[in-house]
């Protein structure tokens, strides 16, 4: 259960201004592995270069003089030995690089996931879901590619250049310098092209998204398309986007089809220049035939890989952007769950006091103004008021999704900011109007958030109390039905009852109910009411009420208007005074009278 198992490093602390340093810090624990990968890569590269140097000896010492003694066998064996060494270390390097990249990414994923769920609710209320997901998935993938592909890829090309160039210098200084003249040009052309390619590719991808959207709209709107018989028009619209994608693809390919031949020509020209001067020098006896052969092979390994450098550099720059986007998330501060000056041992009593509580999301725009009330343990508090009058904001303060801007809320006489958030939340159950269910089985949804083993009987018991058992049993897979699975969709009322069952199992001391039963039939409504009554027994309950019936029995009714409590008291008390509450109540009576009138008007 400990966090240590999933990430052993506080990644939020690795963030610095310099992205390279940040990426290096993020590798902590894998740095030696990464260095190992680089060393292995160097050994492999040296081995390959060695192979060509052995080949040179083979030609110069064995073949040309015709000296097939022990030397010959040694050379052949060295040749194979170096090949094995090269293969072996190439593997080791790839393996270590993969371990580094995958390990660092896994830690980053775990950390970010945990980080996101521990960021304050206030952060999530503001953030865009799509953007967060993009950062958590495609941006992390880009960081993964940086470690596993780009960093090591650039390293490989540089190593190949350095090792082979040193070898060339050993063979012949003049030839060596002659062989790298075109390299700046190759790199330049390559960077130029790949930055063009990456732009064209982006446009292509965007069009892909547009096309997908068009398709999706057509599929989800199939009834409209058919009802207006617009199949032809739809095909025409789709074809336009489809054709645009074809054009953009063509554009992308034109760049590619120019780059590769042009770079072929530059690389080829460089290679042939080297070949020519090499051959002439060999002819003049300045170098041996063996040297020429080794030289010819080494040149290939210097020139051609350079073409990829541009791609890697361009990709690295997009990787850096991704890293920055991830780092921005990591910099956000988490809310501590366990921290608290007051660590209670048992369950709370549920006595709650609001004292001069003010709340505002933005300065000078208070949503709650000077809220004062007291409720005893086990009380039912009803919150009445129109949308935006502050009811939801008020109950958001209880589990500390937000903290009051001013004033204090106490639970059992202790300021709730003194409690650890985890404890506080363990004492509170929330049943929302349209609760969020997870795409798991109904059973898992009911037991979600119950931190103990739950028996099947308990689950069924809870479902029965919540009046959802019968509905569940009608599904082919009963409690194992996946929520949101094809064909199985739960209505708002059914979701709410699953949430009631969930709250029953959690067995909290304080309950927050968003009471809305408008979209169910009479029988179900009765069931839900029964379930709710069961749930509210001996708990301090806050009901966000939309209808007067559900507040009549409350111990305290708070009537909200524009962030203020305008009336406060029991049903009996409030009925005695004129005011909003009484007005609302009177409407009920009026409705019955009107119904009577309406029915009789029909029956003339």
């Amino acid at each position: 259960m400990s966090e240590k198992t999933f990430y052993d490093l506080n990644l939020s602390q690795t963030i610095t201004k310099n992205r390279m340093v940040g990426l290096w810090r993020m590798m902590k624990g894998y740095r030696w592995l990464f260095i190992g990968a680089t060393i292995a890569l160097a050994i492999a590269t040296i081995s390959r270069t060695g192979i060509y140097l052995v080949l040179r000896r083979f030609i110069d010492d064995v073949v040309v003089p015709g000296n097939f003694g022990t030397n010959f066998v040694v050379i052949i064996l060295t040749f194979i030995g170096l090949a094995v060494l090269q293969g072996g270390f190439t593997f080791v390097s790839g393996w270590m690089a993969a371990k580094t990249a995958e390990g660092v990414t896994r830690r980053l994923r775990n950390y970010l996931f945990d980080h996101l769920q521990r960021l304050p609710y206030a952060y999530h209320a503001e953030a865009q879901t799509g953007d967060l997901i993009a950062r958590a998935t495609s941006d992390i993938d880009a960081v993964n590619r940086f470690y596993g592909d780009q960093a090591i890829g650039i390293g490989r090309i540089i190593l190949m250049f350095v090792v082979n160039f040193i070898a060339l210098l050993q063979l012949n200084t003049r030839l060596a310098w002659l062989s790298v003249i075109a390299i700046p040009a190759i790199i330049g052309v390559s960077i130029f092209f790949f930055s063009r390619v990456s732009k064209a590719y982006e446009a292509y991808q965007e069009q892909e998204a547009t096309l997908s959207n068009r398709l999706q709209e057509n599929l989800t709107g199939v009834r409209v398309v058919k009802a207006f018989a617009r199949q032809g028009f739809e095909s025409y619209k789709f074809d336009q986007e489809n054709w645009r994608k074809f054009r953009l693809g063509k554009n992308l390919l034109s760049i590619h089809s120019l780059f590769w031949p042009i770079s072929d020509i530059i690389c080829g020209a460089q290679m042939l220049t080297s070949y020519f001067f090499g051959a002439i020098m060999a002819l003049n006896g300045e170098i041996t035939v063996g040297t020429y052969m080794a030289f010819v092979s080494l040149v290939i390994w210097i020139i051609w890989p350079m073409r990829n450098l541009g791609r890697l550099i361009v990709q690295t720059s997009t990787g850096m952007v991704s890293y920055k986007r991830v780092a921005e998330l990591l910099k956000e501060e988490r809310e501590p769950l366990l921290e608290g000056k007051y660590q209670p041992s048992g369950d709370a009593q549920g006595e709650i006091v609001f004292k001069d509580v003010w709340f505002e999301y933005e300065p000078d725009n208070p949503i709650l103004k000077n809220i004062n009330f007291t409720c005893r343990s086990g009380d039912v508090i009803a919150l009445l008021g129109s949308t935006g009058s502050g009811k939801t904001t008020l109950v958001n303060l209880l589990p500390r999704f937000y903290d009051p801007t001013d004033g204090m809320i106490t639970l059992d006489g202790v300021d709730i900011t003194q409690y650890p958030r985890k404890y506080l939340r363990s004492q509170i159950g929330i049943v929302e109007q349209e609760p969020f269910l997870f795409s798991r089985t109904i059973r898992e949804n009911i037991t979600y958030g119950v931190h103990r083993k739950v028996t099947e009987e308990e689950i069924i018991q809870a479902a029965k109390f919540a009046a959802i058992h019968d509905v569940i049993m009608e599904f082919p897979k009963a409690y194992d039905t996946l929520v949101g699975e094809r064909g199985v969709t739960l209505s708002g009322g059914q979701k709410q009852r699953v949430a009631i069952a969930r709250a029953l199992l959690k067995n909290p001391r304080i309950l927050i109910l968003d009471d809305s039963t408008s979209s169910v039939d009479t029988e179900t409504e009765m069931h839900i009411r029964g379930a709710l009554e069961h749930l509210m027994q001996s708990r301090t309950t806050f009901i966000i009420a939309h209808r007067i019936q559900s507040v009549m029995d409350a111990d305290l009714i708070l009537v909200f208007d524009n962030g203020e409590i305008v009336q406060k008291g029991t049903h009996a008390e409030l009925m005695k005074t004129s005011g909003m509450y009484k007005d609302i109540f009177d409407i009920q009576t009026r409705i019955e009278v009107e119904l009577e009138k309406e029915i009789s008007s029909v029956n003339i």
């Binding site: 999933f6 080949l55 083979f58 040749f79 194979i80 090269q86 293969g87 393996w95 690089a97 990249a101 995958e102 896994r106 996931f113 945990d114 996101l116 769920q117 609710y121 999530h124 997908s212 398709l215 599929l219 989800t220 709107g221 199939v222 009834r223 409209v224 398309v225 058919k226 009802a227 207006f228 199949q231 739809e234 789709f238 074809d239 994608k245 074809f246 390919l253 590619h256 089809s257 120019l258 590769w260 031949p261 072929d264 020509i265 080829g268 042939l272 051959a279 002819l283 052969m293 010819v296 949308t387 999704f401 929330i430 109007q433 997870f438 979600y448 039939d521 007067i548 119904l595 029956n603």
Partner: protein
């Protein structure tokens, strides 16, 4: 994130003759391009082999023979050949790439057009994501195989063959050693590739699960916090990333092992060649240049092999993709025109349902024996509980479905004898959750009649009561409605869809009233818009509001796929049956809503 990732099934398919024939038929219209790129790549590949041979000649005829002229000549030839090769490379990249895009375009077009013909039942049984995956990832895979795949294999085969021929020319004896090693390398490479692909696919699968977990972790964060699920969630997520780690690590590990293994095998082959070859130089059978050529051929032979292995592994996936694509294209629409149809000028007139039954699956009937008649110009209200069959009746009426038993008559003519287009082009429909298309308000209204003028569009909007709020937009009728119209409120979308239906001047009007509450003003506007639409038209309304129901000429109470009660408001109230109960309950609710200051208007995001 794409919602259709989960439908990106990747399994193995077997190449069979019929599939191969169909695959090739995709390329048939573009056979010239195919011939073009195959020629280019064939020559490129041949030149690859030839230049190596030229390299050997520089040594033998130039350096060893001591001829400067030969060096100049060979290098010039080398350069010329490379220039040709560059030109050919341009050719094959351009041709293959564009053919690939073209094949993608063709396939998407074909599938999309076919989808337009398919019946509603197909869409109610097939998840949108599944269809989207066919038009995206499957199309990608198939097009890649048919272009770059074929290209790579051609290159590889020509490359190996050219190398083999030149090696045989240089020294048959040594060439045979290499050719003997070749199958070993190929088998090893193929097996590696398949294993790598297996793990790679597993990691993709884990990846989409991880995306799903992030999605839920973010959208459900309130519940997670309220239930203190953070630790459990992290643990579950840790299992996913562990799975992802294992799969991608294995794929990477195998990839790391793959090339070195092939290289070592070829190096051993080369060792043998050098050992035998060294002896032969002595006897004069082999030249130094010959050795150089062998070194190059054997060193670079791993590339074609690795390409072939890759294409082979990808092919199995792509074939499975092809099977799914063909499956989509082969699906026949359930509802289509009969071979002989009646010419229809109008569908306005009496409508009869005669013992209509409908089911998706025979043992689970949805509609059980509906019989009723509607006179021209009447308004019918369908009421009853969710899932009772109201929507199915409307779908039958529009001939999105056809009765599995019984008949529906328009003007006394069996509507299955009519042409689908004739029926559906005369229907106007407003859905419960109005569907708009991305684009401007104007474009969305024009959807009702494509050749409508701007003035007519405005007129329709005015009639629908949408004009006022449209004029308040910054860009008025040119305002972008967003993807599926989600920049607008439900009420606004509904008004626009009413305007769209008004513009269509339908003969039959169908409306599925929204249950979600809209503010009183919008509500009144919608009512007025509906009134205008229903004037003088036969209309069916899946009704939720009493004002609508009461006005109906005929109320049909549907429950359990059957007509429970039917008649006018007055008749049904007097029956004191199901309708009576439904009505009184609804009456209380509506009045409560009307009077009650606490009833939420459209719920805002923060409240939900």
């Amino acid at each position: 994130m794409s919602t259709f990732e989960e439908f990106d099934e990747q399994d193995y398919g077997k190449l069979s003759t019929p599939i191969l024939r169909r695959l090739l038929s995709l390329l048939k219209p573009h056979w010239r391009t195919v011939v073009g790129f195959l020629t280019c790549i064939g020559l490129v590949s041949f030149i690859d082999g030839y230049t190596t041979f030229l390299g050997a000649q520089i040594i033998d005829e130039g350096i060893i023979a001591g001829s400067r002229a030969a060096i100049v000549r060979t290098i010039t030839l080398y350069g010329a050949v490379m220039l040709i090769q560059a030109a050919l490379a341009f050719g094959f990249i351009y041709l293959t790439g564009i053919l690939g895009e073209r094949v993608r375009y063709d396939m998407r077009k074909k599938m999309f057009n076919h989808l337009q013909q398919l019946s509603l039942s197909y869409f109610s049984q097939t998840p949108v994501g599944w269809i989207m995956a066919r038009l995206t990832s499957d199309t990608e895979r198939l097009a890649d195989l048919m272009t770059w795949g074929i290209l790579d294999v051609t290159w590889a085969i020509v490359n190996i063959s050219t190398a083999a021929v030149f090696m045989l020319m240089i020294n048959a004896n040594l060439a045979l050693i290499v050719l003997f090693m070749l199958p070993i390398m190929i088998v090893v490479a193929f097996r590696f590739r398949i294993r790598i692909l297996y793990h790679y696919r597993k990691s993709r699968k884990m990846n989409s699960k991880i995306t799903g977990a992030f999605n839920e972790g973010i959208t459900g964060v309130r519940v997670i916090k309220a239930l203190s699920r953070e630790d459990d969630n992290l643990e579950e997520f840790g299992e996913l990333t562990e799975g992802m780690y294992q799969a991608s690590y294995k794929a990477a590990w195998l990839s790391a092992l793959f090339l070195p293994t092939v290289q070592v095998i070829s190096a051993i082959g080369l060792g043998i060649v050098l050992w035998r070859g060294g002896m032969q130089v002595q006897v004069g059978v082999l030249t130094v240049g010959g050795i150089q050529a062998f070194v190059s051929y054997v060193t670079f032979i791993m590339w074609p092999i690795q390409d072939m292995a890759r294409v082979y592994a990808q092919m199995q996936n792509a074939i499975a993709s092809a099977e799914r694509i063909f499956n989509l294209i082969d699906t026949e629409p359930d509802v289509k025109n009969r071979s002989r149809t009646v010419e229809t000028q109008t569908i306005a007139g009496d409508i009869q349902f005669d013992d209509v039954h409908f089911y998706y699956e025979a043992n689970d009937p949805v509609i059980k024996g509906l019989t009723f008649e509607v006179k021209k110009g009447e308004m019918v209200a369908l009421v009853g509980p969710t899932g009772g069959g109201k929507t199915t009746i409307v779908n039958l009426l529009c001939r999105f479905y056809e009765p599995t038993q019984g008949k529906i008559y328009f003007n006394g003519v069996d509507y299955q004898d009519m042409r689908l287009e004739d029926i559906q082009s005369r229907i106007g429909m407003v859905l419960q959750t109005p569907h708009l298309f991305s684009g401007s308000v104007r474009e969305n209204i024009r959807y009702g009649r494509l050749n409508a003028t701007d003035a007519e569009i405005e007129q329709a909007a005015k009639l629908a009561g949408a004009h006022e709020f449209i004029m308040q937009f910054d860009e008025q009728y040119d305002q972008d409605v967003g993807e599926s119209g989600n920049l607008l409120s439900v009420g606004q979308k509904q008004l626009i869809s009413i305007a769209r239906a008004i513009l269509a001047q339908p003969e039959l009007f169908i409306m599925d009233e929204a249950t979600s509450s809209v503010d009183t003003l919008t509500e009144a506007l919608i009512q007025r818009g509906m009134d205008r639409l229903m004037q003088g038209r036969t209309s069916f309304v899946i009704a939720h509001r009493l004002s609508t129901i009461k006005r109906a000429d005929k109320i049909i109470v549907i429950e359990d796929g059957q007509i429970q009660e039917m008649g006018t408001h007055q008749e049904l109230i007097n029956q004191k049956g199901k309708y009576y109960n439904l009505y009184t309950r609804q009456f209380r609710q509506e009045l409560e809503a009307q009077y009650d200051i606490f009833t939420p208007a459209e719920r805002t995001q923060t409240e939900a």
